[in-house]
Each structure stands twice: as structure tokens, then as C-alpha cells.
């Protein structure tokens, strides 16, 4: 016999009339290497066929299954119940629009952020199918890849104090996305463009430095370093602007 697990799960169906947010309780026997993905599917198949949650890859790669597990935002698919106490509480990620039960709308939020930060290579160069690719040194490619590893699960925003009070805050995921293009030599945006985009209260200067994002990121992105890099870069641009201004006077 495995442990008797108690799941306390937040429930709310926004499309049902008069439905009220509540906590439902489910019992499940623990089996070896049980993770929250399997547990939730068993609960749905056997106890609550209307239970809503999101999984896609179930391998920690796609970022669909961010949720609050015992008060901490993380990926459900790779959370083993053996690492948790007998009682497991599951809430949807805060910050994002709730769709139902544990399912939140990360897709629409991330699309809007991609539009806001213009998350694409800005270049005047046309693609020529007949010529060799532009060369890039491998170290640069690896650096871009490191920043590109974000899976947009939203855990950083769920854990972020600023994001809960500043509605248009880009959060770690949004800032990291910008950082990815700042270091990409193919992107022809200049310092002025970056400054306008990031040097605002909804950008890097909105961050109050509590760095929960860095603690909770399931992909271990070096968010601390990314922020430090962006801050330094923005400060440098800011100072040079100030100097220019002083010189002009």
C-alpha cells in the first residue's frame, strides 16, 4: 500500500451559471514515481470527469502545466508526489486569466507580450535562398539558445510581486525575451530602441529585485544575470544620454 494522498483542488467553472469558487477534496493512493500529471488524470477519469487542467508534452518541455502546488508555482508534470506531504493543494497560477479550475490563459498573454516587445529579428536584409547563411560564432549561438530556452510557462509571473500590482509589467519572461534579441547580432535594433522598450516601469525598472522568478523558474534560466545585464546596459545608455544632453547645453 502506498501513502493515502489528499488532493485539495481549486474548482471554478466560469461558464456555469451560479458556480462559486471552492475547494474539492480527492483521495488517491500513491504509486511509485507518481507525478501530478498522472494523479490529475486519474482523478479526472475516476472521480471528477469535469476537472479542467492543461497538459501537452508531459515532459517538462512545452510549459502548459504551470500551477500552484502547495503554494509554489511549478510544472505539474515533473512534480513527483513523493517530494510532497500527504496533503497536496493545487491552485491555478495567479496573474493569468482563469479559464476553469486549474486552467489559465497563458497563450493570449504571451502573444500580447510578443507583440509589445516585437519578439522577432528586426532586419532589413532579405533572405536569399541561393547564398550561404550569415556566419555566427558558436559561443554567440549558445548564448542566444540559453535565453531562448524559456518555455513561457508563466511560473515567473505567478511568483512575481510586481506583476500582481503593475498590470502591464513584462515580468521575467518578457524581459528575458527582450534580452534574447539584445544579444542577437542579427537584430538591428539600436540602443535607442532598446532604451524605449525596456527603460520603463513596466520594463526593467518596474522590477523591485525580489527575484522569486529566479527561484521558481523550472528551466533554471539565469534570470539574475539577464536582469543585471539589461540594467547595466540601460544605465549605460541612460548615462550617455545624460552626458550628450549636458554637452549640448
Amino acid at each position: 500500500m502506498g501513502r493515502a494522498l489528499t488532493f485539495e483542488i481549486f474548482r471554478y467553472n466560469s461558464t456555469a451559471e451560479n458556480d462559486k469558487p471552492r475547494i474539492d477534496i480527492f483521495q488517491l493512493e500513491e504509486t511509485p514515481r507518481l507525478n501530478v500529471f498522472t494523479a490529475l488524470n486519474l482523478i479526472r477519469e475516476q472521480q471528477a470527469p469535469d476537472l479542467m487542467f492543461d497538459f501537452v508534452c508531459r515532459a517538462g518541455i512545452c510549459g502548459s502545466c504551470g500551477m500552484m502546488i502547495n503554494g509554489r508555482p511549478t510544472l505539474a508534470c515533473r512534480t513527483l508526489t513523493s517530494d510532497l506531504p500527504n496533503t497536496i493543494t493545487l491552485y491555478p497560477l495567479p496573474f493569468f486569466k482563469l479559464l476553469g479550475d486549474l486552467s489559465v490563459d497563458t497563450g493570449v498573454w504571451f502573444r500580447e507580450v510578443a507583440e509589445r516587445v516585437e519578439s522577432w529579428i528586426h532586419t532589413q536584409t532579405e533572405f536569399d535562398p541561393q547564398t550561404e547563411e550569415e556566419r555566427m560564432d558558436n559561443a554567440t549561438a549558445n548564448k542566444i539558445y540559453e535565453a531562448e530556452r524559456c518555455i513561457e510557462c508563466g511560473c515567473c509571473l505567478a511568483g512575481c510581486a510586481t506583476a500582481q500590482v503593475v498590470p502591464d509589467f513584462l515580468g521575467a519572461a518578457g524581459l528575458n525575451r527582450i534580452g534574447r534579441f539584445v544579444i542577437d547580432p542579427r537584430d538591428q535594433r539600436d540602443e535607442e530602441d532598446w532604451f524605449k522598450l525596456i527603460s520603463t516601469d513596466s520594463g526593467i525598472f518596474g522590477c523591485i529585485g525580489m527575484m522569486a522568478c529566479d527561484d521558481v523558474c523550472p528551466k533554471d534560466l539565469p534570470l539574475l544575470e539577464v536582469f543585471a545585464y539589461i540594467r547595466r546596459k540601460m544605465a549605460a545608455i541612460g548615462f550617455s544620454k545624460k552626458k550628450e544632453k549636458a554637452a549640448a547645453v
Partner: protein, 644 residues
């Protein structure tokens, strides 16, 4: 009256193939809407790890590579089941597609000039990369290839390419409606004009009407239950085609089992593990692959490696575990740096999901359902058989460059190449087509779906949909797996024929309004059962062994009777499926030995020219629409002889 949304091009599926095709149309100024079950960046393309094959030849181990050698590997890999012209179109365009993705922003790993240490066939070897190629896109080794050809970004290739592609979608302002599921195509006899769609946000049923409709929904792996596929890969797109009664699904019996799914959980660890030097070991920690495949060893094609692994386990050399029998993947010698950079996803998966540290420990693996070579049959332009205005591409389609076995790195590359090539044809089709906004036709189709939903919700008594799902997958897992027998396939076929009837009596217990996950699943179960039957019956019919289809009772590849492609349609929903066969396509490389795998062949009795002379006519008779260019136009005759 239900809501009707109109667009020039409707793309169902927002993975790499669907998004690349959408970009092709949007770039031509067409109005495009993409529908997706999930936010686009969650699509299963994101989980692809290893890379994309393209014969850029920049790495020293890819020196001298060209599109012809890539094509040869692909045709041999397919066990001659591929359409050789399509394989050619693919191989010729793959280098362009890789460069285009670099231009779009993919941070491909690049050549670093000078010496570096690598593992080749179990031995540590020093190779010296050409300084002249420094900074160009590099490649790693994959199975069944003559050259190192697989372009990559560490082991997150699908992720970076999908994010880059989706960036393009955002840049072009292409509309994406996520959490939407197409339930049925709207068609006027043999002309597709849109789809009935259910919102997975609130359960609303609406109609999309389009000039051109595109299915790019990926594979059906979840029908097998144990699969490396994402949970959304339930064959919803191929089911759309099958429901029309006229569009055939091709080669459904051609199912790929990947050698290295981890035990338990069935999550994939990339072929790049073996490409980078990983070894397969048995219960005695003995490296067995060189005994079976002296030349290719761990890097024979996937069908062969999976078969050899199973064969070795049947000899009692498997490792017993509470989760069933498995073998070991040894990555320890690759070292911590390699495992934490180039195989970082693999490292994370092993650590998080099974608590195995691949730097110190062996990884438990076994062959696991991974890919469907078969799918919606299309001509070389991606246009479906028998249905004007309907296109399909990517894994959901049978274009057919993979035949009975696809090479690792060829399907991820196919998504972007087909997205480019077929995408162009989709745009051309939409440009010359007028929108048929036949709202009353749409309403008829919408009403049928609403009735179906009403029936599911209101039936007083009936079957549990989840239990039926397990019965379906158990039959496939037991009888339609790596090794197949006539007896087992009979059992599977009979069992699935029964299940096809039983799924009509599903009872949905949850009456919750909105997306209602149980109802959503109940709406897919008929498609899953029927496609499972096509897989089993197709395998039962095919009395030979070819690529991944391996029959104990018919061990030889039979080019006299079976050098053909299975086409299955379901004309009467209450009736039986209809099986037909067509030639694989124009042959250029005559059927021969693959150079690995050790199978025997029964050689063709007619000449290649005789075979080729009937291809066009016979395919046309099966409903193939005329491609823009004549059949065979892209297949340079005997170009492969120059490489011999």
C-alpha cells in the same frame, strides 16, 4: 444561427508545418486564421529535441554531402516505400529551409574550427573541423545516414525553431485562435469550404469558412497509449479527413517505434544521444548492437534498432523492472559538460522524471511508439486525394517521403520544408479560388455536430469513454507493435471492429457546461477507434515486412506484391472501411538492399520502367488530383549514379 467566421486560408494546427504554411500565405497578402488546440508554442513540435536533416555539409564529418546523398539515405530508410520524387523535393529544399530559419532567427549550433573529441562507434576520436567553415551551421550524426547532417540547437531544436516560427506569425500579424478544435470539415461533395469548430474555452460550436483549408495537426501516437507523443496527439486531424468518406488515409500500418523511450513514462530521449556516442547495453551491461549491425551499430535506422532491441530482449537479455522489460542507454562516457549543454533536456528529463543521473547512471530505455509515417494522402503539392481545396502537411499527412520508416531528423525538417513548398501551393490555390460563404451548408454541418453532442450528453446508459480508450490502446500495444503476426493482427482487427461499434454508445457522465473535458474526449473516441482499426487491418492485409512493418509470418520484403501504398477510406460511417492500393510513385533508385537490417527481398518481376509507366494513371484512378507539374518532373533521372 451559429457564428460563421470567414477567411482566405484556414490552417488547422499551429505546430511547425501549420505555422510555416500560414506564413507562406500571409506573405502573399492572404487572410489567414490558424486554429490550435493549445497556444502555438505548446504544440508538439516544441518537444522535438535532436535536429533537422539538411545536406549543408559544413561539418568535416558531413564533407562532400549533397542533396542526392540525403535523398538516397531517405529512400533506403523508407525501405523503398517512399515517393521518390517527394523525397527529392524534400532533400533539395532542406538546406534552403535551414538557412531561411537561420535568417528568421534560429540560433543553430555553428562550426568551430579546429580539433575536437567525439565518440564514433564507441571509440573516442579526434576530428578537425575546417577553419574555413567556422560560423556556418554545423551538424551531428543521426541514424541511417551516410554523413553527419542533422542541424541542431543543443537538444532543444523543435523548441527554438517553433519559437522562431511563431515570432514570424506574430510579426506578420497572423490571427491565431487557440483552444479551438475542428470537429468536422464542411464540404460540398468533393470541395472543402471550411470546418465546424468547437471552442475549448466555452464549448461554443461555430463555423469557419475558407477558400483553402489546411490540416497540420501532427500524429496520432496517443491512440497507442504508450507513446512518446504529447497528450494532444490523438489523431484529430486525420479523423477530419477520414470522416469525409472520400479522402484516404495512407499506410496507417507504418508506425515508427523509437528505440529510446525512457522507462517508465515513455518520454523520448533524442536519437542525438546515440548520434553523439551513446551506447545500448543489455542486462549484463554488454554492448550488443555491433553483433547485429556491424556496420551501423547503434545508428542503423530506427526500425532496425528497435527490432534488434526487441530481438535481444526476447533472447532473455532484457533488464526486468516493475515497469516491464527494458535495456540500458549508456551516456556516462560523454561527460558532464556534454550532458549539461548539448543534451541538457535529456539530462533534465532523466533527473526529474525517473531520478536517474545520466552522468553516473545507465538510463532505462525501450522502443516506444513515436511517429506515424502514414496519414492523409496528398499529392506532391500537398493537395488531398478526392477533395478540392483541402491540403495536409507535416506528420498528419502522407506526402510521402518516409515510406515505411522515416529517418531521425527527417520529420522535423519535413515540417519546415513542406511548410515552404506545400505552403506555396496553398497560397496559389487560395489566390485563384472564390470564397463560397454558403452559410446554410455550414449550418447543416454545425447542426450535425450539435446533435452528436446532444446524444453524448443525454444518453441514459452507455460505455465509459476512458475505459474504451484503454481497450483500444491495449489491442494496438499487444498485437500491432514492433513484431506482428497474422494471428495477433486478426485478434486486434476483430477486437477493434467490435470497439468501433461500442464507441457509438459512449455515455458522458459530466454535464458541465463549457469545455467539459470528458465530452471533448468523447468527441475524439470514434476517430481513435476507427484509425486504430485502419492500423491493425492495414497491417493484417500487408503480407510482407517492410521498414517498421515487420511480420513474423512474412519476414521478406515483397516487391512483387507489396511495392505499393495502402489507401483506406471509410465511405459509410456505419459500414466497413475500404482498402485500396496504389504504386508508391515513380522509381529512380531501383529497390535493393538497405545495407543494414539484414532482411531478405523478393525482387520485382517487372522492370522499373514498366512499374513507372502505370504510376500516374493508377494514382489518378484513386482520386489523386493533378499536381501543378507533371509526375516525375522533379526527379532527375539516375542522378544518384554520380554518387556511387
Amino acid at each position: 444561427m451559429s457564428k460563421v467566421i470567414t477567411t482566405d486560408v484556414l490552417v488547422i494546427g499551429a505546430g511547425l508545418a501549420g505555422e510555416r504554411a500560414a506564413i507562406a500565405s500571409a506573405s502573399e497578402g492572404l487572410d489567414v486564421i490558424i486554429l490550435s488546440l493549445v497556444p502555438p508554442r505548446r504544440s508538439h513540435s516544441s518537444a522535438a529535441q535532436g535536429g533537422m536533416q539538411a545536406s549543408l555539409g559544413n561539418s568535416v564529418k558531413g564533407k562532400g554531402d549533397n542533396t542526392t546523398i540525403h535523398w538516397l539515405d531517405t529512400v533506403k530508410g523508407s525501405d523503398w516505400g517512399a515517393d521518390q520524387e517527394v523525397a527529392r523535393i524534400f532533400a533539395d529544399n532542406a538546406p534552403i529551409a535551414m538557412r531561411e530559419m537561420a535568417h528568421f532567427g534560429v540560433p543553430w549550433n555553428r562550426v568551430e574550427g579546429g580539433p575536437r573529441e567525439v565518440y564514433i562507434k564507441g571509440k573516442k576520436t579526434t576530428i578537425v573541423e575546417d577553419y574555413g567553415k567556422e560560423g556556418l551551421i554545423t551538424a551531428r550524426d543521426f541514424g541511417g545516414t551516410a554523413k553527419w547532417r542533422t542541424c541542431y540547437t543543443a537538444d532543444g531544436t523543435g523548441h527554438t525553431v517553433l519559437y522562431t516560427m511563431d515570432n514570424m506569425v506574430v510579426q506578420l500579424g497572423i490571427t491565431v485562435h487557440d483552444r479551438m478544435e475542428a470537429l468536422r470539415l464542411i464540404h460540398k461533395d468533393r470541395e472543402c469550404v471550411g470546418a465546424v469548430v468547437r471552442s475549448l474555452r466555452d464549448g461554443e460550436i461555430l463555423a469557419y469558412m475558407s477558400k483553402t483549408t489546411v490540416i497540420a495537426t501532427g500524429g496520432y501516437g496517443r491512440i497507442y497509449g504508450e507513446s512518446t507523443n504529447a497528450v494532444i496527439n490523438e489523431g484529430t486531424g486525420s479523423w477530419l479527413a477520414l470522416q469525409t468518406g472520400v479522402v484516404p488515409l495512407a499506410n496507417m500500418e507504418a508506425v515508427q517505434f523509437h528505440p529510446t523511450g525512457i522507462v517508465p513514462t515513455d518520454i523520448l530521449v533524442t536519437e542525438g544521444c546515440r548520434g553523439d556516442g551513446g551506447l545500448l547495453l543489455d542486462v549484463d551491461e554488454y554492448r550488443f548492437m555491433p553483433d547485429y549491425e556491424p556496420e551501423k551499430q547503434e545508428l542503423a535506422s530506427r526500425d532496425v534498432v528497435s527490432r534488434r532491441m526487441k530481438e535481444h530482449m526476447l533472447k532473455g537479455k532484457g533488464v526486468q523492472s516493475p515497469y516491464g522489460e527494458h535495456l540500458w542507454l549508456d551516456l556516462r562516457h560523454l561527460g558532464e559538460t556534454h550532458l549539461k549543454t548539448k543534451l541538457r533536456e535529456v539530462y533534465d528529463i532523466c533527473m526529474y522524471f525517473i531520478g536517474v543521473n545520466p552522468i553516473k547512471d545507465l538510463v532505462p530505455v525501450r522502443p516506444t511508439q513515436h511517429y506515424s509515417m502514414g496519414g492523409i494522402r496528398v499529392n506532391k503539392d500537398g493537395h488531398t486525394y478526392n477533395m478540392e481545396g483541402l491540403f495536409a502537411l507535416g506528420e498528419v499527412s502522407c506526402w510521402d517521403m518516409h515510406g515505411f520508416n522515416r529517418l531521425g531528423g527527417n520529420s522535423l525538417a519535413e515540417t519546415v520544408v513542406a511548410g515552404m513548398v506545400v505552403g506555396k501551393q496553398i497560397a496559389e490555390h487560395a489566390k485563384k479560388t472564390a470564397l463560397v460563404a454558403d452559410v446554410s451548408l455550414a449550418e447543416q454541418f454545425v447542426q450535425k455536430e450539435k446533435e452528436k453532442i446532444g446524444h453524448l450528453l443525454n444518453s441514459a446508459d452507455g460505455e465509459n469513454v476512458y475505459e474504451l480508450r484503454y481497450e483500444i490502446s491495449n489491442l494496438l500495444k499487444t498485437h500491432v507493435h514492433i513484431f506482428r503476426t497474422g494471428e495477433g493482427l486478426e485478434k486486434a482487427t476483430t477486437g477493434l471492429q467490435d470497439l468501433v461499434k461500442r464507441v457509438e454508445n459512449v455515455k458522458v457522465r459530466s454535464k458541465a457546461p463549457g469545455m467539459n473535458p470528458e465530452l471533448s474526449f468523447a468527441l475524439r473516441i470514434e476517430g481513435m477507434a476507427k484509425q486504430a482499426l485502419l492500423i491493425a487491418q492495414g497491417a493484417l492485409n500487408r503480407k510482407e515486412s517492410r521498414g517498421a512493418h515487420s511480420r513474423d509470418d512474412y519476414p521478406d520484403r515483397d516487391d512483387v506484391n507489396w511495392l505499393n501504398r495502402t489507401l483506406a477510406r471509410w465511405p459509410d460511417p456505419q459500414g466497413e472501411p475500404v482498402f485500396e492500393y496504389e504504386p508508391v510513385g515513380v522509381l529512380d533508385l531501383p529497390p535493393g538492399d538497405r545495407g543494414y537490417g539484414g532482411g531478405q527481398q523478393i525482387s520485382m518481376e517487372i522492370t522499373v520502367d514498366e512499374y513507372n509507366s502505370r504510376v500516374d494513371e493508377e494514382q489518378k484512378a484513386k482520386g489523386r488530383l493533378d499536381p501543378i507539374e507533371p509526375t516525375g518532373a522533379r526527379l532527375p533521372k539516375e542522378a544518384w549514379k554520380e554518387t556511387q
